[in-house]
Symmetry: D2
Subunit: 145 residues, 4 copies
């Protein structure tokens, strides 16, 4: 059985968009994740502040790294986000994902996004469906060779 860290390492390796965002993993525990990124020039919207899609994408990656890390492939059903404070180029954003509910078929996660001044800039909530499939092959099946 792969550890939560191994599952997320495997996910992030193939996750081209999270790589484009510059996401770095801070810590992974069962059902939880903490990640960060720096905000760059190409991430602004038409008002010169950071596009809402950037904060959402960071939160969505934190959500994915939290809800999948027990190696039970889970897909997002519904997510919502409140934008609380403008984000600017040069800000460092940290997303902390915590597990609200770990059901057999579904799960609910809350993700807080903070800037480098520890101000909450966005609040995200995600609901996922668990497929029951493995993301990473289990040790047992490997050893059986």
């Amino acid at each position: 059985m792969p550890t939560p860290n191994e599952v997320v390492t495997s996910m992030l390796e193939k996750d081209a968009f999270s790589q484009w965002l510059g996401i770095q993993v801070l810590s992974i525990e069962e059902g939880c994740s903490a990640i960060k990124m720096m905000v760059r020039n190409e991430m602004v919207n038409g008002f010169g502040i950071v596009h809402g899609g950037i904060a959402f994408s960071l939160a969505d990656s934190a959500f994915a790294f939290a809800c999948n890390n027990r190696n039970n492939l889970s897909v997002a059903l519904e997510t919502n986000i409140n934008f609380l404070k403008a984000v600017n180029v040069g800000d460092e954003l940290t997303a902390i994902a915590t597990e609200v509910h770990n059901g057999k078929s579904t799960g609910v996660y809350s993700i807080n996004i903070f800037n480098q001044r520890k101000e909450l800039v966005a609040l995200f909530k995600g609901t996922c469906f668990r497929t029951g499939k493995a993301l990473v092959a289990n040790e047992n099946s490997n050893r059986s060779n």
Copy 2:
């Protein structure tokens, strides 16, 4: 007074992230917008399908182009999205934003995202706050120079 099209043209010129996404405007009307983009390799997540942040970002841009185009600067308060169907590299996504409610201080918008087979892949709803400020200087103020 600038037209809805002029407001959106001005927004998109400065919107570096919408440009990175490759967003093209299909049509703009008061309180509405239709835009599209092609899904590229750098937009996938750890499962080899398109990152949820990409569909969200497209919808969020459509939302911004719809809710701001009366030249009343509006900021997103809350948005939510349901993911209905996986999106793949090479897909063409179209976002259609319609106005549900045009209040004095707030507005509500519904955005449908379709793929090239006209399948609904995501449903987004956004609530904005209207600041009352202009995005583009009005003709009157220009003429006063």
Copy 3:
């Protein structure tokens, strides 16, 4: 196999709170429902307008009658609602539920609530999980007696 109407009739018979609300069924079709109710004095909040929970509850019943009526027991995972216009005592509210997505394990429904002047007063979106269990015993099992 019971019809959508039979399933909803069976649900409403046992649904004490929908009865307290005074909900009447207008029409039921596969994956859809239309219901109405009159707003009474005991439904107001501390501002003398109708409590948000009343419009929500009407929408939630419409959602339940739509998402369960194929006789596949479904439970609400996440719902959200935008309040667009104040509702007053004496208003007649109609909820129209339409199916956005009918997946094997999950479904998404949009519910519009109108007052007697056909004004949209609230917009509700619900996501459900399908358990695969029947609500009403199928003809076959009855016949087997």
Copy 4:
């Protein structure tokens, strides 16, 4: 200037639906509230468990008591709720509302609903618009008579 407790007392006196629900106030602080209620027979849905509208209504009252208690009349724009665990007749529900964001024109609140076994049964998030009007006449204006 009325205290948060005075504002909520005044609200609850006129709030017929919260009275029907049997809501009791546990504690009120600036931007926060804790309330409880007992679940009765007339609150069940068609499945014999408690109607989603009941948990929502309790949370919505907690939200209203939290976001209005600085005596700045605030109206709900958008609310969403995740249903995590079935609620049964005889359960005692407690709603704890905390302030996520206290902006000048808008606010965001998170409400947790627990049953008598301290299990989280629902998670609610609400966004409000602040009108700037007083709910309860201020002492100053009274004294000016």
